[in-house]
Amino acid sequence: MSSATKASRIGEELWKTRVDKVNAELVTLTYGTIVAQLCQDYDGNYQEVNKQLEKMGYNIGMRLIEDFLAKSNVGRCANFRETADMIAKVGFRIFLNIAPTVTNWTSDNNQFSLVFDENPLADFVELPDDGRAQDELWFSNILCGVLRGALEMVQMQIEAHFVSDVLRGDDTTEMRVSLVRYIEDEMPPDEE
């Protein structure tokens, strides 16, 4: 069994048995409220909004990893490819009930893409028609921060950013994830 298939099964099993649930629309609408509020507070400075969302995600990721490890009870991943499957098929399943596709690996196995067929955070959303939002705002940027925060807690420094989004008129929603380095045990995590 491939690591991806195995991870998919674990993810689905956990979603069914170990996850307390709420109405999906409550989550979707709450997230929409957060982004809209940021856009208002930063007066349409979408770069700053992206940054703030990433920061919020980072805070969430650092706490979410505990919940993830407690629920999934999975061991250390052997390599970054296994980590990618664990994120896509277990992590995203537990928290957003989706399983993005892992693809576009670089030959050194340090970079991959997550392609989202579905994104509950973006349901109901149409970006502002101001001639800028579709070029500048990454609506779901919080997810990049979540990955960075969560993986930092398990000694991996990564960098994540969106490269396309259907909300911008792209045909796919794709996030690029790169491993920067494994953090040595003695290094404390970057606190914000």
């Binding site: 982004v35 109901f124 959303v125």
Partner: protein, 189 residues
């Protein structure tokens, strides 16, 4: 039949407007108002003068669709209303085609809109029966067709307001929304 449809905010700010003609009984979907030069102004004026009636009916009748609520005889304009629970008003003005005997008085308007007006209105009125949607603004068939139209527009309106970036009172500028309203008009009216 010519139609002018507008969405007003709870404080009467126009959020969306569209003019179109019937697609029933061989109609081509193009609006031909009786006084084309002043139609834009007149339609808005007539709609706004019906708001008092809407506001009164709003608290006596809990239905979303209030049916035909007002008539403005000088322009043979009939107004139907639909109220969303969140306070937006959908108002539809319908104006039946002019009788062929009077049509010549309208030929002084702009040529692009009126070029086919004479034959078009005469043709549709002779073909349509008195109870059809295209001819009689207050028949039960028309009330039902308007209800279907309003309901379909409401569905698209809800999709608009569900977006976190939409704020109450914002003009609806989406061309997709416009095309959905046009399609609903073609389908039901």
């Amino acid at each position: 039949m010519s139609y002018y449809f507008t969405v007003l905010s709870p404080t009467d700010v126009p959020l969306f407007n569209i003019a179109f003609g019937t697609s029933k009984s061989g109609g081509d979907g193009i609006a031909r108002f009786r006084f084309p030069d002043t139609a834009q102004y007149m339609n808005q004026f007539i709609i706004h003068s019906s708001l008092d009636v809407v506001e009164e009916a709003q608290w006596m009748n809990g239905n979303m669709y209030l049916k035909h609520i007002d008539t403005y005889p000088p322009a043979s304009a009939y107004i139907s209303a639909f109220l969303t629970p969140s306070g937006a008003r959908f108002l539809l003005l319908h104006q039946p085609p002019q009788l062929p005997t009077n049509a010549s008085s309208a030929t002084t308007g702009s040529s692009s809109l009126l070029g086919s007006s004479f034959s078009g209105s005469a043709g549709s009125s002779s073909r349509a029966s008195a109870s059809s949607v295209a001819a009689n603004p207050t028949s039960p068939q028309t009330e039902e067709a308007v209800r279907q139209f309003m309901t379909e527009v409401y569905e698209n309106y809800v999709k608009t307001v569900m977006s976190p970036f939409y704020r109450q009172g914002m003009e609806i500028k989406s061309s997709v929304f416009r095309s959905k309203v046009t399609a609903a008009g073609r389908k039901w009216l």
